[in-house]
């Protein structure tokens, strides 16, 4: 059991990620979580590494980047409060598809992917809601990636 459980519960409950999840289930989530504070510039995880934890940002911002040979670290997305990072730890094989770096002092709620999965298996209702949340995060991120790919500002309006 986590020592900063009450604080954790308060922070977690304040995030949009858990909107609609019952108090009991939040308690359960907290039991699988820990509070993590990162100073600006600290790495949360590294592309290619295997991680067990997924993270919900409580405050601050995390930058995601990928390493491209010859171009170095190429940042592609900034995530902020209420958003989920490291989802591979929950629904992938745990291998991170990006490097995550705190760009300011950042507080995260780190949840054990294994314990979260167990929780979802035993509490099907929570599992359903949680996976819905993850799906929403991923669909939003997919849309955002698509918009970036479209290079909307490349040939944009010249006048009016």
């Amino acid at each position: 059991m986590n020592t900063d459980h009450p604080n954790l519960l308060k922070l977690l409950a304040a995030t949009r990620f858990v909107e609609g999840i019952s108090h009991d289930h939040l308690q359960g989530l907290c039991r699988a979580s820990r509070l993590l504070k990162l100073p600006a510039g600290a790495k949360l995880f590294q592309e290619g590494a295997i991680e067990d934890e997924v993270f919900v940002i409580s405050s601050g911002h995390i930058r995601l980047s990928m390493n491209v040979p010859g171009r170095g670290d190429v940042p592609f997305l900034t995530t902020g409060p209420g958003e989920l990072v490291g989802w591979s730890g929950l629904i992938g094989d745990g291998r991170m598809t990006a490097t995550a770096t705190a760009i300011d002092d950042t507080t995260l709620i780190a949840m054990s992917g294994r314990r979260l999965q167990e929780l979802c298996d035993s509490e099907k209702e929570l599992g359903y809601v949680l996976l819905q949340r993850v799906a929403q995060v991923l669909s939003q991120r997919l849309l955002s990636t698509r918009l970036q790919l479209m290079d909307l500002f490349a040939g944009e309006k010249a006048d009016t």
Binding site: G155, E156, K157, A158
Partner: protein, 391 residues
Amino acid sequence: MTSPTESNRSVLFLGRGQLNQLIRALADDGYQVVGPTIDQAAIVYGEITSADDLPIGWTDVQEPGKYRLQRRDDEACFGYVVGPHSWKKYLFPPVTLVATADRTKTGWQLSTPETEPPRYAFLGVRGCELAAMRIQDKVFLGGPFVDPTYQKRRAAAFIVAVNCTQAAPTCFCTSMNTGPRCSSGFDLALTEVADGFLMEIGSESGNVVAARLNVEPATSAQLESGNAARQQAVDQISKQLDTTDIRDLLMNNLRHPHWEEVANRCLSCTNCTMVCPTCFCSSVNEVPDLTGDHVDRERSWDSCFNIDFSYMNGSPTRNSIHSRYRQWMTHKLATWHDQFGSSGCVGCGRCITWCPVGIDLTQEVAAIRSSQNNPSVEGAVNSSHDNEGVS
């Protein structure tokens, strides 16, 4: 529409031989008389100096994509329907100089030429054409900005309307409530009968001109034959456009597959928009002379069927025939209501006759409408989907 009855408006009779008197009276007043005349195998509008210039004894036979002149078995002056020209060519000319720029020692001198507008007397304006003028009045004079060219030409014009006594298979003015009876918007209105013309007076200027003609009050027999002649036109109208909720019908079906079907036939050649008496689209272009020291800013008729018309940021917005046909038809029949408070169509049928491949907008509307009434017909699924977002 209530048409004025013969009893509440004094009707005069102008003998066939006296038509020249009218033309001469208008010319004496300084009007350039323009009216129907035969040219290029059609009845077009051109300068008229005497009744001999009129298409006496000729009529037009029309169907989708086809127009032919034909001899009549009488000597009627106005025994035709409508031709390829409309009066907009005089009020909103195909090419107008709107401004000029001349290079000076230190820059440019910009000017807008304001020549005296020509004073036209239009002879032979049909009911649908009067309606078209009312519609263009709203477009050019009814908004926050007024078009000076149209305004001056319109104000100076004298209108001699002529009631239709026959109709073409392409006519559908009765569906659009624009005719065939000329009820207002004219200075004088004629109805051609066997031995002359019944004449109604629609304005004070009309009254002044009529007073100078050898006219006499029409007899009841003459009135009777006028009624019969006009009724003949009504009876001959066979085409209909069901305008019930037409705005919503079309706007709720912007994704209907039928647009694509029309696009298979449509040439996007602009003919329908050019012959339409209400279409008003134009472009202002820079026309520099060789030295580049003098520039004319010319406004020319343009068309929503041209790819360039919607060009923006390197590509056209309406880059397919189906989107351009849809733009034209939905504008004419649907969004015109939002913009100007009426339909943009007067039912003259020109767009049907002069379409080189005979596309008939009344049939295209009917096709979309029937798919609404019969869910098994094309597009019903799509259109119900469209309904969601439309308020």
